[in-house]
Subunit: 413 residues, 2 copies
C-alpha cells in the first residue's frame, strides 16, 4: 500500500459575492476532484485548531503529524534547508529580502522592485566577500536564492533565534532595529551581531555599481537587506523512523521543501515546477506517479492557489484548481486503486476577500481500498463538512494515512 | 438513573468486498441495535485518537474515562489482577505462555498445542514447588489460568516493568533474552531474575513426565514458559471515587476484567460467559439486568467479535453481532426506559481483511430519557458517523454517560 497526499496551498476559501456565495473551490468545474469525493471519504480539517490561521510551514508540520506549535522554531532555518544550505543545530538562519530604502532608512519597496536574480547574485557575491574579511563574532554565510530572496546563516557558539526582524513589514516605515525577544545573553548577542551586519551590508550596497546601473535604468536600487524570521532547526523525529516508510516530496517552495526535508522526506526536483501560476502541474503529477515506484508516501505541493488568494485574483485561483484537478486526473489514471491511497487537502484557508490566511477549516478527501466511503459527491468546503471523517485536526491526518498503510503500531494488548 | 455500556470487542470493521462494500456490522440484520440507533443519539469514537490502533486494555481504559496512554503500565499486571492474583504496587507481573521449543530454543508452537488446562496445572504445581526451594532475589508466584496461559508475579524491592519479552512472537524464531528497556538498576535486576527463571522453568519442564506423556500421545510438549508484557499496577482513580457510583463489569476476559477491577468495578462472574464464540450472551444479558438492581453502571464486554476478526471469519463475526443484538433485545425488554441509559460501542476496529486492530473510529449509540435523538436509523460505522454526537474521543464517553446520571460535578460558578 502507498499514499499520495496533494496539498493545494491556501486552496480553501470563504464564500465570495462575485461567485454568488460560492467559494472558488465550489465554483470551479473539477470533475476528478469530485470523482475522488464520490468514491472516497471526506471531512474538514482544522490545520491547528478552529479559528487559528497558520503559516504554510506550521500547517505543513501539522499535516505531517507533528505538534506544530511545539516544534516550530521559525521560518529562517526551514527555508535555508529547503534552499540547500546546510544548517547545524547550533546555527541561526534569517530569511532575507533585498529591499529599497530612502536616505532615512524608510522602506520604499520591500523587494527592491522584485530585483532580478542576476543582480541579486552580484550584490551577494560582494557582500559575502567583504563579510569574510571582517570579524562578526560568528561565521557568516549570505546567499541569495530567487529574485529578492536570500538567506543569512550565522554559525558559532551562543546564538539564539529569539530575535526580532528588521523588516518593518510595510512600505513607508523605517527599518527596525533587531531586538532580543527574551532575556538570554544569547539573544542579546545575536541581535547585536545582526544589527552590525545590517549596517555593514547597507554600507556595501548603498553605492554599489549594480545599484548605480539599476538607477540609470529606472530600477529601484537594492540598497539594504532586511533580516526576517530568525530560526533554528526544529527537533523532528523523521517520518522514516516514526513510521518506517520511505517518504518523498515534490514542492518548488524552499520553505515547504525545508520542512519536508527535515521530516526525513526525499525532495524530488521537477523541471517546470516553479511554485508560480506557470508551474508545470502535469510534470509534478508524472513525477509523483514515478516516485511511487520507490517511495511509500509522496507529498505533492502546489503553491499557485495561495498566490492567487493573496493577489485577490479569483479567476487565477480557479485556474489553479483546474490544474490541480488535472493532476488528480493523471494520478487516478496511472495508479492502482487497489494499492494506492490518494488524499487531497489544503494547508490552510486563504481568503480572496481579505488576502490573508484565515482560521477556517479546509476540506479533505481520502480515497483508497479500505476507506469507509460516504455520500459526499463534491470536493468543496461545505460538501466535505458533511463527510464521514467529520472534523479532524491537521496532526490527525498522518496517523490516519499511515494506519491505512499498516504503518502504525498497535499499543497495548 | 442507571447506565449499561455494551462493548463489542473489535466489533467495528472496514468495508469488505465479500459483503459488497459493507462492513460486517452494516451487513448484519440486527433490529434491536438499529432500534437503539433510531431512538437514541449516535456518533463515532476514536478510542485514543484518529488513526491510532489500541489494544483492548488501552482502549477500555480510555472508554472508562482514563488518559490511557498516560496510565497504561503494561498488560501483565492487568491480566494478573483479572485472573484473581493479588498484585501490590511494587510487584511486577508477566503474562506467560506455555510453549514448545526445539533443542536450540527455537519456538515450534507459542501455545504448546493449546495445552489442556489440566496438564498446565500439573506443570505449574511442580514449577511453583521447585521455585519455592530456590533463591531468586524476589518472591516468585507462578500460576496457570486457562489452557496455555499463565501469570508470573515477582514481589520484592527494586523491580521494574521496563523489561522486554522472551516471546519472539513468531514460530521459527529463537526464544529472546529478556533485556532491560531503560537504564535503571531496577530494570537490569528484573531482567536478570527473569532470565534466570526462564532457564530454571525450562530445566523443570524439558523432561517432565507430563510432557513425556504428551509426546507419547502425539501432543506437543510444554517445555518452556515464555514471559511477555511485563506490567505493574496502573495508578487509577477508581470510578467509585471519581463519580460516586457503584460500577460493575461482566466480562470473561481476564485482561479486561483486570482493567475494570482496577477502575473500582465489581466483577460479576456469569456461568457460560467464556470469552469465546460459544459464550452465553443471554446469561450475560440477564446478569446485567440483575446487576442494575445493585449497581449504577454496568459494563458488558463481549469478546467473540474480535476473535472472529483476528481469525478472518466474516460469518462468525456476523453471528456474534446477532448475539449482541439479542443481548440488546433482552436489555431493552427488561429495563425501564425512563430510568436507564443504554450505550453500545466497540473498543476498536479489528479488520477482517488485515486481521489486525486498526485506527479507524468505532460507532457509538446512546439511548436514554434525555439524549438529543438524531435521525440515524441504523447502528453501523458509516450511519453513526452522521449522528448527533459527531466524532468524539474514547475518554469523552464516561463523562457523557456520568453526566446523564447526574454524577459529574459542575466546575466553576
Amino acid at each position: 500500500m502507498k499514499a499520495i497526499l496533494i496539498i493545494g496551498d491556501g486552496m480553501a476559501d470563504r464564500p465570495l459575492k462575485e461567485l454568488e456565495g460560492k467559494t472558488p473551490l465550489e465554483a470551479t468545474e473539477k470533475p476528478f476532484l469530485d470523482e475522488l469525493a464520490k468514491s472516497g471519504i471526506c471531512g474538514i480539517i482544522d490545520p491547528i485548531s478552529p479559528g487559528f490561521p497558520p503559516g504554510s510551514d506550521v500547517a505543513t508540520l501539522a499535516l505531517l503529524g507533528y505538534d506544530a506549535l511545539k516544534v516550530y522554531t521559525g521560518r529562517g532555518a526551514l527555508e535555508a534547508v529547503g534552499s540547500g544550505i546546510e544548517v547545524l543545530p547550533t546555527d541561526i538562519a534569517f530569511r532575507c529580502n533585498f529591499a529599497t530604502v530612502d536616505k532615512d532608512l524608510v522602506v520604499v519597496d520591500r523587494r527592491a522592485g522584485r530585483i532580478a536574480t542576476e543582480d541579486a547574485a552580484k550584490l551577494t557575491e560582494d557582500i559575502q566577500k567583504a563579510v569574510s574579511e571582517e570579524e562578526f563574532e560568528a561565521d557568516v554565510l549570505f546567499k541569495n536564492t530567487v529574485e529578492h530572496r536570500a538567506i543569512l546563516r550565522l554559525r558559532g557558539p551562543e546564538l539564539s533565534n529569539m530575535v526580532s526582524s528588521s523588516d518593518p513589514a510595510y512600505v513607508g516605515r523605517r527599518v527596525q532595529k533587531i531586538m532580543p525577544l527574551d532575556d538570554t545573553l544569547q539573544a542579546a548577542r545575536t541581535a547585536k551581531i545582526a544589527n552590525k551586519l545590517m549596517t555593514f551590508f547597507h554600507e556595501i550596497l548603498k553605492n554599489h555599481e549594480v545599484n548605480e546601473k539599476r538607477k540609470e535604468k529606472g530600477l529601484l536600487p537594492a540598497n539594504i537587506v532586511l533580516f526576517r524570521s530568525a530560526g533554528k532547526l526544529p527537533d523532528l523525529t523523521p517520518l522514516t523512523l516514526k513510521y518506517g516508510i520511505r517518504p518523498a516530496v515534490i514542492c518548488a517552495l524552499p520553505l515547504i521543501r525545508g520542512v519536508c526535508k527535515l521530516a526525513g522526506m526525499k525532495p524530488i526536483l521537477v523541471e517546470g515546477a516553479t511554485g508560480t501560476y506557470a508551474t508545470n502541474v502535469m510534470a509534478k503529477a508524472k513525477a509523483a506517479v514515478k516516485a511511487l515506484e520507490s517511495y511509500d508516501f509522496v507529498l505533492v505541493h502546489v503553491k499557485g492557489t495561495d498566490l492567487a488568494s493573496h493577489d485577490g485574483k479569483v479567476s487565477k485561483k480557479m485556474e489553479m484548481i483546474v490544474k490541480i484537478d488535472g493532476l488528480v486526473s493523471y494520478i487516478l489514471e496511472n495508479t492502482d486503486p487497489e494499492e494506492t491511497y490518494i488524499a487531497v487537502t489544503a494547508d490552510h484557508t486563504t481568503s480572496i476577500a481579505t488576502g490573508e490566511h484565515e482560521g477556517d477549516p479546509v476540506p479533505i478527501v481520502l480515497r483508497g481500498p479500505y476507506v469507509r466511503t460516504d455520500d459526499v459527491a463534491e470536493f468543496g468546503e461545505r460538501a466535505c463538512a458533511k463527510g464521514g471523517l467529520g472534523r479532524i485536526r491537521g496532526k490527525d491526518l498522518m496517523p490516519i494515512l499511515m494506519n491505512f498503510l499498516g504503518k502504525v503500531k498497535k499499543y497495548g494488548a
